[in-house]
Structures are given as structure tokens and as C-alpha cells.
Symmetry: C2
Subunit: 159 residues, 2 copies
Amino acid sequence: MRMGEGVEWGLHCCLALAWLEDEAPVPTGRLAGLFELPPVYLKKQLQALVRAGILQSVPGVRGGFRLARAPAEITLMDVVAAVEGPSEAFRCAEIRQKGAGAEASAREFARPCGVATAMRRAELAWRRELAGQTLADLLAEAPPGAPGRIRRHYERHGA
Amino acid sequence: MRMGEGVEWGLHCCLALAWLEDEAPVPTGRLAGLFELPPVYLKKQLQALVRAGILQSVPGVRGGFRLARAPAEITLMDVVAAVEGPSEAFRCAEIRQKGAGAEASAREFARPCGVATAMRRAELAWRRELAGQTLADLLAEAPPGAPGRIRRHYERHGA
DNA sequence: GGTTCCGTACTCGGATAGTTGTTGTCCGAGTAATGAGGG
DNA sequence: CCCTCATTACTCGGACAACAACTATCCGAGTACGGAACC
């Protein structure tokens, strides 16, 4: 089991966008420069965030991305679901109904599989924890120098 | 993000082994027959459980697998970690130190990254939930007819 | 008849291909600035 | 001098390869049973 790196990229980019929120829309190349990321692939991940309604994209020259909502209204769960997809990590294939289970009565399978239930419960705890933290919380915990450093780097390497 | 199907296979096979624990070691082909799984690939997954100390393998003819510990001493976390690997789902690449972060003082990175901390917290909740459930709990929740059905199917399709 | 030994069949173990998902890249559609031209 | 408009350069959006991980499989090492030969 593994999580794509797009999650880390997306979260850090959202934080940067929050610190630069009074600036014009930030294009992909600038965001990529802030973290030395491959620009085009980063754009792909940002597009996923746009489809999820987390970012707002402005096309054309002087275009770019900005946050679509206030940081306090964006949970980590939103970002993770947008990048990694909404499907659950554990996918029950109902193998309990195969082989030996084929002889059982159908109504025995009305209740969900115990294995799937346990896995689902764990995943729910994970989702709940992610949904309990917002970008605003991360902004508050960030080092005091980070915002200014982002802005400085942004303007220095600006057009 | 996705979880391998080996987790579901491993858990169901462990439950079946618990119900058949007074039998001789169960070979791979029999276990595969219980759930209509590809026998050779299932063996690969079971080998991972052996390496983790969850199962005990007996080589040679009349060999097979059996539980290495009591079901109450095997948590779902053990099985998941054995099959999916012990590494964490979220892997922090420390991109905060790249680009704009390169200008920051080194001691600012003494504290862990806030993004990584948040993700780690969520994953810890997931692990904690998995570690709180044992195979014995799943055995207790299983339908009453399941154990007999497994044994019956096992003896019918036996040698 | 009992014992020993060998052949055989069966099982685990690790090394080897095929397929799906993730990573990385490219080209086309669309937009605002920019400069020239005209009023 | 101000307004209009075509040109241009830049950015997002989705379609196209390269790589890695997961899935699936095959062959070798080891072991217990079964039978035959021998005592």
C-alpha cells in the first residue's frame, strides 16, 4: 500500500497559495519553482484539485491557480480524496461467497463481511482524522518565517 | 492509493486456518479451493505471513500452513503489515527544504514537517484501529454456520 | 515376519514473465497584454 | 490624443509514452509415505 507523492505536492502548494492569496493567480511554473518540482506533472495534480473544487484555475496569460475556498474550509481529506481518488483503499472482493461459501444460504450474506467491516472501520478512522484537520490548522502550525520566505522567493524569481 | 488484494486473502485464510486448527497443516491448494483463489499466487502471500511470524509452514508431503499463534494474539495490523509491507503509506520527501525552503536556517527543519505530521497522525489512527482488532474478534462476529461449512468443504474436497 | 533402504510423489521456497496503475511528457484551445493603425 | 483591432506570447486542458508495482506463473529443494529387498 502506497500513497502517491501528489498528496504532499498538493498540500504544500495549497499552503503556498494561501500565503500568496493576495497576489495574482499563481501559474504552475512558479509553484513548481517554490519546491523544485517537475512543472508539467505538478500541473496534472493541480488539475485534479481543480476538478474537486479546491482550486480555481484562470486560463490564458497571467493565468494560474488560486484557492477556491478559505483555508479553514479545506480539509486534508478533501485534498487527499482529490489527488488519490475517492475510492477506498480496501476493496472487498466478497471471496467469502466463493468456494465453501457458495453452499451457504443467500441471506447469510445480507450482513456485510466481517473482514471488510473491520478494514472499513480502520479506514474510516483515517478519514475522520484527515477531515478533522484543515489547511488553516497547518498554516497556524507552520514556522513563522515560512510565509515571508515564500513571498520573497516568489517575487525574486518572478517575471 | 490502493491496497493489495492479498490482505483480504490473508485474513480469510487465517480465519479458515483458525477453524481448522485441530487438523493437520493445510496445504496451499486446499486453502485456495476454499475461496477459489489462484493457488500459486496465494502461496506467495502466505509466505509473507510466514516471514512475519503469523503462520507456520511445514515443508514436505503432508505439509502446509498453520497459525503460529493463538487468534487472539494476531491483530489485523499484523496481517496487513505482513502482506503490504511495513513502510508507511505517506512518504515525506521533505520538499519544504527545496526551492524557497533552501534559504531557511537549518534548525527550522529540526521540527518535523507539519504536513507529514498531520498525515502521520491519520495513519496512526488507522494503524491503531487495526491493531485493536484481533482474529479472535472476527471469529466471534462470523456467522455461526461458517466454521462447519469450512470444515465440511475441506473434508469433502479432501484427499 | 520384521527391518532397512530406495524410489516416488507431494509440498514449500525463491526466481521468472505479464498486466495494471503511477509518473512524466507533449501538443492543442483559450485568453490578456501589446503594439500599430485609424479616427 | 484616444479608440479599435490584429498579433503575439503565455497559460490551462486533455491526450500520449516510460517506468514501477502488483499479479500470476514456473522450476528447484526438501520431506514423508510406500514398497521392495534383505535379514
